[in-house]
Amino acid sequence: MQSIIEVKNVTKKFGDFVAVDNISFEINKGEIFAFLGPNGAGKSTTIKMLTTLLSPTAGTLILDGHNVEKDSNKVRHSFGIVFQDPSLDDELTAYENMKLHGVLYSVPKELCNERIKQLLSLVELWDRKDSYVKEFSGGMKRRLEIARGLLHHPKILFLDEPTLGLDPQTRNHIWKYISELNKNEGITVFFTTHYMEEAERIAERIAIIDHGKIIASGTATELKSKTNTASLEDAFLSLTGKVIREEEGSPVDRMRMRRNAWNKR
């Protein structure tokens, strides 16, 4: 099997805070990989490093044969991403947001229009295509965001808690579509989620990260037998403990908090 994502000894620090602590893993071409962990474990920071938004403090990341830091332009050609937090332009309509994405990713015009219709219908937003995004509810924005992420068919698809706050029907539709993409076009899928049953059902391989370190990885069955538990949720809890994590902000929020605290002195 050929690996398409290689992460070697990667560390990311924000000041004194170590968000990601010397992690390494590989993901094979065409695999569906779930990256699980409690809040603030380092999932999103890892995704941001893999998608060229943050540079690591130490270590190397290779995506589709290119070094993420040195060849970031080439790397950007090989992936697509659905972010955890919103990334739509509120002042544009749903259709314009899709169209803009299509142009940025040079999806051929005809194909682009065809897919926009298909995807907006999938997430049940086709009849709202000309409404401004600022008029949308949170769930609608989430759905639009996913539709947009699926508009171009990249080699690797990153999904950072894509189905958060969506009803089971929509979640089901979306995962079905993604599985088909994975099967028909061999797209590698890297996703994070807090719904353990989703990870168990969809992911071929799972890694669990906590306090910036990968503490376990393998198939759902392997993780369950290793921890002697009946479900992935129990396996997850036995590995990461039952203590509720203090909800930490994103690295940016943290920096902002620190700076504000400093400014107010």
Binding site: N73, R76, F83, L100, V103, L104
Partner: protein, 247 residues
């Protein structure tokens, strides 16, 4: 090319859809024109400087351009806060093209704003010295707009949230405007006149004044060359900072 076009179009759409912003950014220059223009007019005339409206209008055009441009450049902070910036930063297009698209869009908006102020000023008694020179004045407006949009982009690329925005408005844009000779003649202003030589807006205002009103301090040739050089410098700086953005 398509990237540049689509991001340029986005800036224009955002501008035309935000009525309050359009009205607000026209009201301010209008108030300046009316209050300063009519208020200081008689004093200016008595001092033997001629018509104050003829003198003031190019300055107010410059003002509306610098405000709109820096604001457009700094929209990056908004996009960062609302998340849209990420969408463009992970796209497989060069960050240089993204920056150029945004900057051209912001500069186009600011130039239109400048032209609108020019048109309004015709109603309150402004007369350009020669209509044939108006297109050249528009070129100067565009060049200045590019300069200040790139400046806004460069600054906003280094800022994380909107709190820095007020700071920039008060400690950069206001001084740039007041020291530029937009509202008073630089000749004979002593130290102020010397400081103004380090203000890029002085050259925009001077160029516009020489093309529209026939009054010049530095000469149109010098104005144009200096503006062109500073514009390229800020475009380079802006695209460098933009390419280094981390989220």
């Amino acid at each position: 090319m398509k990237t540049i076009y689509i991001l340029w179009l986005r800036q224009l759409k955002r501008y035309f859809r935000s009525r309050s912003r359009m009205i607000g950014s026209l009201a301010q220059p209008l108030f300046f024109l009316l209050s300063l223009g009519y208020g200081f007019g008689p004093v200016f005339k008595a001092a033997g400087q001629g018509s104050y409206i003829q003198f003031l209008v190019p300055g107010i055009i410059g003002m509306s351009i610098i405000f709109t441009s820096i604001f457009s450049g700094m929209e990056i902070i908004w996009d960062r806060q609302f998340g849209f910036l990420k969408e463009t930063l992970v796209a497989p297009v060069s960050r240089f093209n993204i920056m150029i698209g945004r900057t051209l869009g912001g500069a186009t908006v600011a130039t239109m704003q400048g032209v609108l102020v020019f048109l309004i000023s015709l109603f309150i008694g402004f007369k350009p010295i020669h209509w044939g020179l108006v297109p050249l004045a528009i070129v100067i407006m565009l060049l200045s707009a590019l300069l200040f949009t790139a400046m806004g982009t460069a600054i906003a690329s280094r800022l994380e949230d909107m709190q820095g925005f007020q700071l920039i408005m008060n400690f950069l844009v206001m001084p740039l405007f007041f020291l530029s000779g937009a509202i008073f003649p630089l000749a004979g202003a002593g130290l102020l006149g010397k400081i103004a030589q380090f203000d890029p807006l002085s050259y925009s205002v001077d160029a516009l004044r020489s093309l529209l009103s026939g009054i010049s301090q530095f000469g149109i040739g010098a104005d144009f060359c200096i503006l062109a050089i500073i514009t390229f410098a800020f475009l380079a700086l802006g695209s460098y900072f933009f390419s280094k953005i981390q989220i």
